[in-house]
Symmetry: C2
């Protein structure tokens, strides 16, 4: 069943490493979910994961008046991060929420939300970024995708700073529907890859120069104009398909 974006996804119940040895308060949304939605009783099991760690099976060992006691059997450590890095010009917070959650679900190794010249400056001061909500969106995407790995995330850096810190990559592409001679569907790609999206109002001339200097080729997604969150999902899916990651 699909869930509203505001609720935690439930395919995989995720725990931070520091939480594993402590009882889980019955008021915690995961406890509510285990008892109320999955209807687990003592002895019942569920799919669990450690954030940036292994997947495994959890067991509801005891139900106390204030907390649950859980035990776990973990599988092997997780594979290396997904070999696709996304750069996204800071979008409005609701769009950023969708991108954080869905890019995590689709499989992005890192997400850098940079301050683009045409980004609205106020977007950097949203509660999304200051209150840690951005990380809850990653957790929701990871739980949805059944993969406890979270992408590395930065926000509010300049494009120059993000470009300077990028690891070497086989392919560097920038989505640019105005200046791209070639389609993302046709340009040669090799992993690892970096895919850059401008802000909703597009790249500036200076940013295009920076990207070219950093070895980015411009590509388009066709003539149809997409919402930013849809363009990110579509482009990441196409790139992963073309890299043989599906």
């Amino acid at each position: 069943m699909a869930r509203p974006a505001s609720l935690p996804a439930v395919n995989l119940i995720l725990f931070e490493p520091a939480e594993l040895d402590a009882p889980l308060a019955r008021t915690d949304p995961r406890a509510v979910h285990l008892l109320g939605v999955l209807r687990r009783q003592v002895g019942g099991t569920f799919d669990a994961g450690v954030v940036n760690g292994p997947r495994g099976r959890g067991t509801l060992a005891a139900v106390g008046p204030a907390a649950l006691t859980l035990t776990f059997a973990w599988g092997p450590p997780p594979p290396a991060p997904e070999p696709v890095v996304l750069l996204v010009g800071l979008p409005r917070p609701q769009t950023a929420r969708d991108i954080l959650r869905e890019a995590t679900a689709l499989g992005a190794g890192a997400l850098h939300f940079f301050r683009a010249e045409k980004s609205e400056p106020g977007y950097a001061h949203s509660r999304l970024w200051s209150a840690g909500e951005w990380r809850r969106q990653l957790l929701a995407g990871a739980a949805q995708a059944f993969d406890p790995r979270l992408p590395a995330v930065t926000h509010g850096q300049t494009l120059a700073a993000v470009l300077a810190a990028l690891p070497p990559a086989g392919t560097r592409l920038a989505l640019d529907n105005y200046e791209s001679p070639q389609s993302l569907a046709a340009v040669p790609v090799t992993a690892p890859a970096v895919l850059a999206f401008g802000p909703e109002r597009g790249w500036s001339a200076a940013e295009r120069t920076q990207l070219r200097a950093a070895g980015f080729a411009c590509v388009h997604l066709g003539t149809r104009v997409l919402r930013a969150e849809t363009a990110v999902i579509a482009a990441l899916a196409i790139l992963r398909a073309r890299l043989g990651l599906l």
Copy 2:
């Protein structure tokens, strides 16, 4: 700028054929948008489209106390429908809204929301379908994509009825993460194509048999579990890329 899903998209202001010769009430959202957001004055122009007809330029010819007078210069008739048909097991209404809007924006020729065995029966009785809201989602997606063509839509038919009415297609694929030997990224595809999605709880055994009998091959999108609306965007984008439509 991306817009909340509940507001009309504004890249292209769409008009029904029957509306073209009448004044536009100032209370109409399009009039509000023209005057209040685009800030057009008499003589100002804007991008316009006729639903399932041509694109062109509109001109604000006069602003009366109760209505606007618009004139239009239309371009050539629209091309043939997009050569991809989607079948989707009836999802919950909020998921259906997103699929209606985003599949239209991405470019789907037809959308058939069928009653799957594992669809919640109540989903067919949502106000989304009874009150015509479904069509407003198509209009929002078409305006966003800058393409006045709307996909043909049916809802509430059985899978058998939808399959019996399908036009001949070069490729018929069903997304099935449980029984698919091959990836959508690797299976041969030729246009026109049909892409089928089960409901959120998956295909039934009988439906898999029906699909195979109708010439569908099962494909997967990888091991990551996606929300239904994200899976539709991702798969449609990959298929269009592989068909050379981007």
